[in-house]
Amino acid sequence: MAETTIYDKSSPGRRGVRFPQPDVPLTKLPESLMRKELPLPEVSENEVVRHFTRLSQLNYGVDIGFYPLGSCTMKYNPKVNEAAARLPGFALIHPLQPVDTVQGALHLMYELQEHLKEIGGFAGMTLQPAAGAHGELTGVLIIKKFHEVNGEPQRNKILIPDSAHGTNPATSAMSGFKVVEIPSDGRGNVDLEALRAECDETLAGFMLTNPNTLGLFDENVCDISALVHEAGGLMYGDGANMNALLGIAKPGEFGVDIMHYNLHKTFSTPHGGGGPGSGPVGVCERLVDFLPGPVVVAETIDDGFEMPFYRFDVPKYSIGRMKAFHGHFGMMVRAYAYILAHGAEGLREVSEYAVLNANYLMHKLKGVYKLPYDRVCMHEFVIEGRWSGIEDIHALDISKRLMDYGFHPPTNYFPLIVREALMIEPTETESIETLDAFAEAMLRIAEEAKTNPEILHEAPHNTPIGRLDEVQAAKNLILCCGLPTQYAE
């Protein structure tokens, strides 16, 4: 590997910082606490700076280029949100401060709760969950407690479509539920007959992602909700794909009782290493009392001021706290800034352009790549990375080759119901030139698959390191960097 570790750059005696002579008497640490060796790299300040700056330049993110990672909504993160989150009144407060000294922050949280309720059609909202899967856990624990309080603890089964995100069954299993998979029908919708067969007195809930991971809006969503509700179950909505619905459809109005948002997807807060995430959960009227506490409530006090007084409240049947303090507050500030900057019409346009961009790309690719569910898509679509007659070209080869063209690969091998799946989500923030360049690269790769398959098998060629051995990486975990020999004795 061409890149060296910081230890490889170490030279005995070299240092970046020299401490001044202490101006207080020295006290020796007890012998038992003294280490004989401290194997830290010995490097100068500029070596450290160059090393990590160089590594940071090898990174790829939305600020570098197009990132069509399906199901992740890698939209651009507006920099004005960062400025808002860094305002001292938001950045320098402490979660244990008395509420009367942080009324501005509570106002923001309250308003964000209200906006998210309005956008999704919900009666209550918690901002606590740290990310999407944590929001799912919150929602599924609410389902559990709801049935317990209603005297129906025998409801121990959660139904999940075969197109679902893997976190759905994982969350349900972790919460003690039995998971039953429901197949998709030929159009990519939930198979209603299979669903009907599982709607019995043990049904606790159904976890639906709509649009689903094929990028398709389930045309029978109201029938699904009706079946689940008639059987006494609750509808959980996985809000990962909300970027398709803003201002167009409210999940609360098509029968979803509980839904998590991903602020780091739909509402443009940073993803991954730049995160953390944030997964607020909205609920319908009959579940408001089960939300994790505390939630922000507003009290109007007749004291001559117009601003209400905000405080924290714990709902009656609360499932308890899901997160230390109040969740990832900095993300709430960014999402709130995003919502205010767009307004209702702007948010609707976000979804309209997200859907338009996805359909534009889908139509550019669909003659060359197989589109297993050929319908108008929502914010993303799934194609197959394989052709009959061309043996041995896989989705992975296409993904790796895309890196040579300067693009982040799409999600591959998900959803599991599509062979050699390539799941592409362009988001609304990309220009037509970027979409055209990506389509052009995809079409050239399809051509290369026929004429020069080796170039795909050996890709990527233009990256700092080539194809990694994923089998070894999965089977032979080395989680600690080996110390150089001079420290090894």
């Binding site: 091998y413 062979r419 089998v471 089977k475």
Partner: protein, 130 residues
């Protein structure tokens, strides 16, 4: 893709070999092709356990995906292929032979009759593969 004759197959791509009252279970060549490089295998049952048709009996993981293995028939577990846990890549190289996973003593030997034979399974895969 190879479909071994003489075995019975499920829609979820397990195979079962019935010899008298003993059933040997594994996953098909098509399944291993779909999963690609297998890196991990775990059994969810132990010797002596009773399993019903459709129960989860194992989990298999590749560089691409993790997948459950379901029992094609009902019976009592008599043997697990422990060696395979250390060399799960054998599932890629010899799915119908050395990569057998679990042996059961059948509670109802006629149960396997309802499963697909090699010809029916080949057709089933071809339909899914189109």
């Amino acid at each position: 893709m190879k479909v071994e004759s003489g075995l019975k197959y499920t829609k979820k791509d397990e195979w079962v070999r019935v010899e008298g009252k003993t059933a040997t279970i594994g996953i098909s060549d098509f399944a291993q092709e779909q999963l690609s490089d297998i890196v991990y295998l775990e059994y969810l049952v132990s010797e002596g356990d009773e399993v019903a048709k459709g129960d989860e009996i194992g989990t298999i993981e590749s560089v691409k995906a993790a997948s459950e293995i379901y029992s094609p028939v009902s019976g009592t577990v008599t043997a697990l292929n422990e060696e395979l846990l250390d060399t799960p890549e054998t599932v890629n190289s010899d799915p119908y032979g050395a990569a057998w996973m679990i042996k059961l003593e059948l509670s109802d030997p006629s149960e396997a009759d309802a499963l697909m034979d090699a010809a029916a399974y080949e057709k089933n895969v071809a339909e899914r593969d189109s």
